[in-house]
């Protein structure tokens, strides 16, 4: 990679992929552990003297699993982006695969929003039940906007692929 812009982009995306993979693996691995030590975990999150509702442990496990699933999707998102940047480095961004990748990224953003809805609901419930649990999760309009922009970009890339085929056909 001689190009500094592409090298920096690849590095940043590689870092994002690693961070997402770490979150996905650690939160999914943590779920059975939290269930195993449920008494100790619940004792830590409630205020001293209070008794936690028994279903709270399932809520915590669900939060961990949903977070893991979201991070796994985030990993896939950044991997698609990494591969798109790689094709730019190879000098040809207008390959049909890139349009497909952008479309997949748009759907990933939609899926992440579907995960965030129950996550936010469970998080809010946990917050009202337990004093020491803080949730800061919300569905954003910006995210939905991102999905739409990705779908539009997928279309733009398809147009680019068509143009390239046209240019190559006429040479």
């Amino acid at each position: 990679m001689r190009d500094p812009l592409l090298a920096a982009a690849r590095m940043a995306l590689g870092f994002s992929m690693a961070a997402m993979a770490f979150v996905a693996v650690s939160s999914i691995a943590l779920a059975p552990l939290v269930y195993g030590w449920r008494d100790a975990v619940l004792a830590r999150v409630v205020a001293p003297g209070a008794t936690p509702p028994p279903e709270a442990i399932w809520a915590i496990v669900a939060v961990l699993l949903l977070t893991g699933a979201g991070a796994a999707l985030g990993f896939l998102f950044f991997r698609h982006l990494y591969r798109i940047v790689a094709t730019v480095g190879e000098g040809d961004p207008f390959v049909p695969a890139n349009a497909e990748r952008l479309r997949a990224m748009g759907w990933i953003v939609v899926a992440v929003h579907l995960i965030v809805v129950p996550l936010a609901a469970i998080g809010a419930w946990l917050q009202t039940t337990m004093e020491r649990f803080h949730a800061n999760i919300s569905v954003s309009l910006g995210g939905l906007l991102l999905a739409l922009v990705l779908f539009v970009l997928a279309r733009v890339f398809r147009e680019g692929t068509r143009l390239r085929a046209e240019v190559e056909g006429t040479v």
């Binding site: 994002s16 961070a19 279309r155």
Partner: protein, 183 residues
């Protein structure tokens, strides 16, 4: 503010042109339009709040801007700056989508719009960094709109990807000119 208004003018003819094109572009335009209206309203509220704050504090402001007296004014100033940048990004996006609707995705204009968006998002990151250094909380923005201000690894990755996309659009523009030249 003037620049923001000219962006608006630029954005709306493009919106109209894209309307008959197809559902995806219409959906993108509507959502962007809603966000744009929200941002412009927040800009108006923020500007009024700034005038009120400055009038209320009056001569108390005749100290260093780092003095705690300035805190509410600084928050509004940074918030308004961030809103202007967000507004510029949305204006450019609307104009780009308009061009896609007209079948001119790879017009040279779109290359410079993409670069403008990348620079504006970079500006938001820098603004967030400056605000954090000065101890001004701008994260929640004005009127509860989250502006995505702040220097984050994801934000920097986004800036880099936007610059890469600008390059992709330049390549597309080159291809388009080549294709037109050979017809």
């Amino acid at each position: 503010m003037l620049r923001s208004l000219s962006r608006l003018r630029e954005a709306f003819p493009a919106r109209a042109a894209a309307r008959p094109a197809d559902d995806l572009l219409v959906a993108a335009n509507i959502l962007l339009g809603i966000v744009l209206v929200g941002v412009i309203l927040a800009l108006a509220f923020g500007a009024i709040a700034l005038v009120v704050q400055v009038a209320r504090l009056g001569e108390a402001l005749l100290v260093s801007p780092l003095d705690p007296v300035w805190a509410p004014v600084n928050r509004l100033l940074f918030g308004l700056g961030a809103l202007l940048l967000v507004e510029a990004v949305i204006g450019s996006l609307l104009a780009m989508i308009g061009a896609v609707g007209r079948g001119e995705a790879f017009a040279r204009d779109n290359v410079s719009r993409m670069e403008t968006i990348a620079c504006d998002v970079l500006g938001l990151q820098v603004l967030g960094l400056v605000a954090a250094t000065a101890g001004v909380p701008v994260g929640t923005g004005i009127a509860g709109i989250d502006l995505g201000v702040g220097l984050t690894p994801a934000g920097l990755a986004l800036v880099l990807v936007l610059f890469v996309l600008a390059r992709v659009f330049r390549e597309g523009a080159r291809l388009r000119e080549e294709a037109e030249g050979t017809v």
